[in-house]
């Protein structure tokens, strides 16, 4: 069974095993049917191969009993698969009343998670173990889709409406989140992590981040180091490289102080004001060779945080 287990990702939610059981039921019965039908085919091709050119074949036009049999048996089988699939789906759909609620906002190309006490993270969903978690999700731009393979769950995140999803991860650990609705150039980088804590650890984490995650600089970090952390947490790295390679947006390497050539032909020096404007009003100046696709971080980053990110960019020479 080890080989079979490896074919699916580890089952890390309370409902994942139910999906897996159905998965194997359908696949193994399909395999039996395939082998059966192909064997019959191969046997016929060998047994009834043409031996002479004037062979006459018997006239067999139909056989009602046989045809009813091979219509009804598959019908019963698929109805079983239908009912089973629907039953598991209903458990995925019906959210327990005591679920812990987290708000999810999707936008090109990041996942943002907001908690009741004001805590807010980007790219990391922190949740307590062994407790139903309810996600209330919405998109700021196009359709995205929230997919955790380890939990066997997926739900589109649609602009202009809320969609919901729930799971219960019994053990602490980490699982990857993919965006599975195509959303543009950064689609394949639009990932996040679910980090499952023990209840006590989760409470500590939540308390530490109350009122907005790290609105002011942690005392043990230099501004540039904090800026690096912020850049990672806000998914800047999804589109901006720090090693000079061209991604969806211009690289940050050597950015500070250099002359950026804009789409309209003019040039601008990448100083503090330019970077600040690019973070808050990304559509104001578009660098030549790039698309105007960056979302605004107005209201998400305060002045201290923007300063820290600028300090970080200055270090990338």
């Amino acid at each position: 069974m080890n080989l079979l287990n490896d074919l699916l990702p580890p089952a890390k939610s309370t409902l994942a095993h139910q999906t897996d059981a159905l998965f194997w039921f359908v696949h193994i019965s399909s395999l039996v049917l395939t082998i059966g039908l192909i064997s019959v085919l191969v046997y016929f091709v060998y047994k009834y191969r043409r031996k002479s050119d004037d062979e006459v074949t018997p006239v067999i036009t139909h056989n009602n009993k046989l045809e009813v049999t091979w219509s009804v048996i598959p019908l019963i089988l698929v109805l079983v698969v239908f009912g089973w699939g629907y039953k598991v789906y209903m458990e995925q759909e019906v959210i327990p009343d005591d679920a812990y609620e987290v708000n999810v906002t999707a936008q090109k190309w990041m996942w943002q998670f907001k908690y009741k006490n004001g805590a807010q993270t980007n790219g990391e969903l922190h949740v307590p173990a062994d407790r139903p978690i309810k996600l209330v999700m919405s998109s700021k731009d196009v359709i995205h889709s929230f997919y955790v393979p380890d939990y066997r769950i997926k739900q589109d995140v649609v602009p202009g409406r809320y969609t919901e999803l729930w799971f219960n991860a019994p053990e602490p650990g980490e699982s990857i989140v993919f965006c599975t609705e195509y959303c543009g150039d950064g689609h394949s980088n639009m990932m996040a992590k679910v980090i499952v804590h023990k209840q006590g650890e989760f409470d500590d984490w939540l308390a530490e981040n109350a009122g907005g995650s790290g609105g002011s600089k942690p005392s043990d970090l230099a501004p540039a180091e904090w800026g690096k952390q912020l850049a990672q947490n806000n998914a800047c790295m999804t589109c901006h490289s720090t090693d000079g390679s061209k991604m969806t947006g211009p690289t940050w390497k050597g950015l500070f102080g250099h002359e950026a050539k804009l789409k309209d032909g003019s040039t601008v020096e990448a100083d503090e004001n330019y970077i600040r404007e690019s973070i808050l009003q990304p559509q104001a100046k578009i660098v030549e060779g790039f698309q105007p696709v960056m979302p605004s971080f107005q209201g998400q980053l305060n002045d201290d945080q923007i300063n820290a990110i600028i300090e970080y960019i200055k270090t990338l020479k």
């Binding site: 074919l7 039908l37 016929f44 009834y48 699939g85 394949s188």
Partner: protein, 581 residues
């Protein structure tokens, strides 16, 4: 003809045997020549060939894009192209393969050539309309190419809003191109339905209609009922983009999920537009090469129609995780399972046809067996995806990519190749190299499985589709898949070369190289300009292999099919009297 005595409307007609010419001097290719005669032709055979040439071109263009996509996926990060280029490539690969290759492949190319011959007709019902459909197809294709060169599109072939209504590029132009191609498809559908209803030869009752024609009939019904919805949807997208009318974009007060309903209302039936004609090819090839009566004629014919009908009611299974109501998902899931039943019935009937047959494993049949295995896998994984709970996990992963490639390439392209090899001698009058054909079939089969089987595994493990970058754990699967795609590509190129070579160096094909009883084989290869010098008369079913070949070569004794009798060679010794309706 056991009902002859009870039917009071019977009249006696004189028939005689018309043996097909073995070495025709005048064929549809020699009677009117020159480029102008091709471009302005209303001959269904020439139009079919022009379609064949066009779809072959687009198949290789789309295939080249597929190879570039697979090459880019060799490494988890950038291999040789930018993310945006990659996104455009998979969009174009999908759009070209679906709208410019798969939809017209069997109906417009093979169907155009074969349908009137199988019906015993001189042409389709509306020959000029037929030419117009070809030019609409070509116009649409040119508009699409113009769009590609003028900004390109990166929306995926599904054009989901609000992404498609907000992204840059030439989305409006591209949708207009597909809009035009859609009309080509509708006109072909209208033409075929009329032809099947009104142009059948004397004696060809509905129960003697070849199953290929039944397949085309079911397909045409879907084409004329579903394609207008696509046209409307694309027109709405264009209105939103150009005029800013809020229909699908929530920023303008629209509903993006509504778009998905509209889109799949066409695009799910479109899947059956692509596969049902393939089923028709399978029935023809299996009976011919096993020299046996089809098992369950009506079951196969009716199952095509019921697939066409139920196929209209299952579009919501593309939207289980879109946010549609759970009740809607349940109903769509249930109906989807019902489509599986007629499809399964076909598979069993084809297998039963082989029982006690006289099976000659020639290359067309070999391609059909390739179809058989690949389509079986494609169909059964469709059952997996129809189950809601499993679809929640597998939706938009490589599992789905593998599933529809098994159905579309493993099923439809294999059936198309089977049909192409089967009718090649009739179309061109030349035989291809049988050995090469078998080797190529093997290479394609192996290459296909190496490409797409690993995609099931990585899909089940959670690899999402349309990803430019991916996490490293999936790299081995991607690399196997990429190697497979090169093998597959080589196989297709090989087919192209030996078929083209046969045009110049191939042996002359006899009128009926496979010993088939179907009507298209009872004329010379290649056929005369107006198909039959006589009016064919049908007394037997198309799969009555227990009856002698002479009974399948009958025509009205008195008529020259409107062309005078001077150029008809009559074997008068076979003249006989037969009761016909």
């Amino acid at each position: 003809m056991d009902t002859a005595e009870t039917n009071s409307t019977l009249k006696k007609i004189q028939v005689q045997r018309f043996k097909p010419e073995s070495d025709p001097k005048e064929t549809y290719m020699t009677e009117e020549t020159g480029i102008w005669s091709w471009l302005t032709t209303v001959d269904h055979k020439k139009i079919g060939i022009m379609y064949l040439a066009s779809i072959t071109f687009f198949f290789f263009v789309g295939g080249l894009m597929a190879l570039m996509i697979r090459t880019e996926l060799w490494t988890p990060a950038k291999t040789f192209i930018e993310a945006n280029t990659y996104n455009q490539l998979f969009t174009l690969h999908g759009s070209i393969m679906i709208f410019l290759f798969l939809v017209p492949s069997v109906p417009a190319a093979l169907g155009n050539f074969i349908l009137p011959l199988q019906l015993g007709a001189k042409d389709v019902a509306f020959p000029r309309l037929n030419l117009l459909s070809y030019y609409l197809y070509l116009t649409g294709a040119f508009i699409a190419i113009f769009a590609i060169l003028n900004g390109g599109i990166d929306t995926g072939w599904t054009f989901y809003t609000p992404y498609s209504s907000t992204t840059g590029g030439a989305v409006t132009t591209m949708t207009f191109g597909i809009f035009v191609i859609g009309f080509s498809s509708i006109l072909t559908g209208v033409n075929f339905i009329t032809t099947i209803h009104k142009m059948r030869a004397p004696g060809m009752t509905w129960d003697k209609l070849p199953l290929f024609c039944w397949g085309l009939y079911a397909t045409s019904i879907i084409q004329i009922l579903a394609t207008p919805v696509l046209a409307i949807t694309l027109a709405l997208v264009a209105m939103e983009r150009i005029l800013g009318i809020g229909i699908f974009d929530p920023a303008l007060g629209g509903d993006p999920v509504l778009y998905q309903h509209f889109f799949w209302f066409y695009s799910h039936p479109a899947v059956y537009i692509m596969i049902v004609p393939g089923f028709g090819v399978v029935s023809e090839v299996i009976t011919t090469f096993s020299r046996k009566h089809i098992f369950g004629y009506w079951a196969i014919a009716i199952s095509s129609l019921s697939i066409a009908f139920i196929g209209f009611l299952v579009w919501g299974h593309h939207m289980f995780v879109s946010g549609q109501a759970a009740l809607a998902s349940m109903v769509f899931s249930f109906l989807t399972f019902l489509v599986g039943i007629p499809t399964g019935i076909k598979m069993f009937n084809w297998t039963a046809t082989l029982y006690k047959g006289s099976i000659d494993l020639k290359s067309p049949l070999l391609y059909i067996f390739g179809f058989f295995f690949l389509f079986l896998v494609g169909g059964l994984t469709g059952i997996v995806l129809a189950s809601i709970a499993l679809d929640v996990h597998l939706h938009d992963t490589y599992y789905v990519v593998a599933h529809f490639h098994f159905v579309m390439v493993g099923g439809m392209v294999m059936a198309f190749l089977a049909g192409l090899h089967y009718w090649w001698p009739k179309i061109t009058g030349k035989m291809y190299n049988e050995m090469m054909a078998k080797i190529a079939c093997g290479i394609i089969f192996v290459g296909f499985n190496v490409t797409f089987l690993p995609q099931f595994v990585m899909g089940a493990q959670g690899m999402p589709r349309r990803y430019f970058n991916y996490i490293e754990q999936f790299q081995p699967f991607h690399q196997i898949s990429t190697v497979g795609s090169y093998i597959l590509g080589f196989g297709f190129v090989m087919v192209f070369f030996y078929l083209v070579k046969s045009l110049f160096r191939g042996e002359k094909a006899p009128a009926n190289p496979w010993g088939s009883r179907a009507l298209e084989w009872q004329v010379a290869s290649p056929p005369p300009l107006h198909n039959f010098h006589h009016t064919p008369v049908i007394v037997n079913g198309p799969y009555d292999y227990h009856k002698p070949m002479e009974e399948f070569q009958l025509g009205l004794a008195s008529s020259g099919n409107g062309h005078g009798e001077s150029n008809v060679e009559v074997d008068s010794s076979d003249e006989e009297q037969i009761h016909a309706e």
